[in-house]
Amino acid sequence: MKKLMKVLAIVISAAMVFSLAACNGLGGKEETTDEPGTLAQAGTVAIPKEEIKIGVLHITSIEETSGYTFAHHKGIVEMKESLGLKDNQIIEKDWIDDNDKKATTTAIQELIDEGCHVIFATSFNYMDTMEEFAAKDEYQDIVFSHCSGYKSNPDNFNNYFGRIYESRYLAGIAAGLKAQELETPMLGFVAAQDVNNAEVTGGINAWALGIQSVYPEAKVFVSVTGSWYAPEDEGKAAQALIDKGCVVLGQHSDSDATQTVAEKNGKFGCGYNSDMTPFAKDAHLCAPIWNWGVYYTKAVSEVINGEWKPVNYYEGMNVGLIDLSPLNPDTIAPGTEEKVAEAKAAIADGSLVVFDDSLVDNKGNKIVGEGEDGRLSDEQITGGINYYIQGVELL
């Protein structure tokens, strides 16, 4: 039997070699028949609404109920409904590990093979793979759009994100007032990534600034899980913060574990991505949330109309891309509503800048902003915040 198996194995190996060799031949032929310039540049030609296909890469499950992927999936569904697209025009790939290049490449290739005209990749580490695909001559007619990164090209690849730190600041006000009500100047933060990740660290700093605006002596302790989605670790980190004495917890992590642990301990918290009140109604104050549908609808309708431009998208509360979830009346401290509304209005009219010229890191260094009036520039915000501000410390 061993011999037979061996023969079988050899035959299969040989078949693979030949098929690959054949691939080579075919590949060459294809290139010669494919005249350059026959592909219309992405975004320049209108695509009938009935024919457009949209591909999406998600890092966790689309069946998840409150976190990051939930928010993106909800945005995609909103886009589908508001543009009147059919189910089979949207292809969503979930559980694509953004640290696994092979899985990312395969998933993007499959979306291309399915005939997608637009591909949205929702997690940071998809970035380089998206860039490579976008650079290929044969895919110049496809729009590649990447969330939360910093790369783009002038033809068919852009990135999109939002000023979530504005909502984080508002959530910080609610958190600070709650801690003040409890007379405990100790707050905790469950962070998916360490200080080197600007998206997470900027969020922590903004939350802390919000807290300090109402409760100056409050301290924020940070516990890092090292993973975007790890409900068990998030719960453990939350518990460790509570054990340290923290009474209100914030989070930048993709599940609602932080909030449910806070509730179990009779503590309070600010969620993230979606309104987490239904999952921890006795603990949750409010959450910075994303309305990704705003961007997805805009981008896809531009593609349909042939008016898409490779411009990076970075918006905030002004267009409704981000927001603060409704304040939970059962948990917030008195006066929260007024304070939050006041700050929200001040952000909207420009009189309040979250990252202004007063930033000092927790080692005492003054942060020099490169933007207007010494505030942080957008570039510094998206990629340069790798320090905790004063009052923020690692657990």
Binding site: L8, C23, S61, E114, D128, N197
Partner: protein
């Protein structure tokens, strides 16, 4: 054996069923049993698909289509992607089989791959101006060196202090991951401040391609033959199996057991390191914690299912790759959860393993003794 009467007597008071190794199984029967296993595995998976309210035949068709049939504009994309999954899995399986043949439980394929990749990445990041072939050759060498180093660490402690290599190799996987995480924080390695990811390789440090896929596939196929010959037709290969059967016998025969163990793990680690280098230089073009895709663990299954035969490993790794690539397409086409496709793969694998068990072992029902 002298024990025979003893066990016979004991069997009367033993459990009524015991498990015994099948002996004298004809090869035709063994093949038939394995084919049956394969069919059973597919059927078991089919039942699960049906339970989800999908048509199993359609689903399997989708898997095959997803693994082999590309799109109109790129007819080869699917098969290329399948090969990309296949290559590291096969190489690592072969690497592990060296250690397993010696009954050395190398559970550290992941770590050896990562450290190999890290060594190779050093040259890709800091010496990318070298001539292409020199650079690639250096990266191959560095990859093998890194993997060998990571494989030899636990082996050294094994032969010196008889530490438990299963735990040691396993834990080193996590050390390797954290080394990469540490590198992500260094200015000289990371791509850009504020983001934890390592620099992207220059084109010069990328592996050349044949047939639209990096040359790793060719190396993997060559490796099958080399490994087969080395393990079955050389003195060193023979030494490995003797040590695996019984270290005492090996010692009686005058073999230097420690040296053989160290040498074999050097090879095992080095091949894992090569797989790591091929992955970062052929596919990822950067170093990351998720670069292995779990093949260091999947390889263990492949190696044992193939009974450590490199040719059969190629077959089994191919089946796994087809399943993995194809089920991704099935997932998005039928819009079922990716978790369900994992369950499906698990069921099929489990059926395989179960079938293997019944092929190799049999139940013996002991009869009541009717002694007077």
């Amino acid at each position: 054996m002298t024990q025979t009467p003893l066990t016979k007597k004991a069997s009367a008071s033993e459990a009524p069923i015991r498990i015994a190794k099948r002996e004298g199984l004809s090869s035709r029967r063994a093949i038939l049993l394995r084919l049956l296993t394969f069919v059973m595995a597919i059927v078991a998976g089919g039942v699960f698909i049906a339970a989800m309210g999908q048509n199993p035949i359609e689903a399997y068709k989708l898997i095959l289509r997803g693994a082999f049939v590309g799109s109109q504009r790129n007819p080869l994309s699917s098969i290329q992607a399948t090969v990309i999954i296949f290559v590291p899995l096969l190489i690592v399986s072969i690497a592990l089989s060296f250690a397993f043949k010696m009954k050395f439980w190398n559970i550290g394929g992941e770590g050896q791959m990562i450290i190999g990749a890290t060594f190779a990445s050093y040259f890709a990041i800091f010496h990318s101006d070298l001539p292409h072939f020199v650079l690639i050759a250096l990266m191959f060498f560095a990859g093998a060196l890194g993997g060998a180093f990571w494989g030899l660490l636990p082996t050294f402690f094994k032969v010196k202090f008889d530490t438990n290599e299963t735990l040691f190799t396993l834990m080193l996987n996590y050390v390797a991951i954290y080394i990469v995480k540490y590198l992500e924080t260094l200015t000289s390695w990371r791509a850009r401040a504020g983001f934890a990811s390592i620099k992207h390789f220059e084109d010069n440090a990328k592996l050349m391609k044949i047939g639209g896929v990096h040359i790793g596939w060719l190396l993997a196929l060559i490796l099958i033959v080399i490994a087969y010959i080395y393990l079955n037709h050389t003195k060193q290969g023979y030494e490995i199996s003797v040590v695996g059967e019984s270290q005492a016998t090996a010692r009686y025969a005058g073999m230097n057991v420690k040296k053989i163990i160290l040498r074999t793990m050097l090879i095992s680690g080095a091949i894992c390191g090569l797989a790591g280098m091929i992955q970062v230089s052929g596919i990822d073009y950067t170093l990351s914690t998720g670069m292995t895709g779990g093949v260091g663990f999947k390889g263990i299954t492949v190696a044992w299912l193939a009974q450590l035969n490199p040719f059969v490993m190629a077959l089994i790794a191919a089946i796994f790759s087809i399943l993995e690539k194809g089920s991704g397409v099935m997932q998005s086409t039928l819009s079922i959860s990716a978790a369900a496709t994992d369950v499906l793969q698990g069921i099929i694998l489990f059926s395989f393993l179960g079938g293997e068990f019944f092929t190799r072992y049999t139940f013996v029902f002991s009869k009541r003794r009717t002694d007077k």
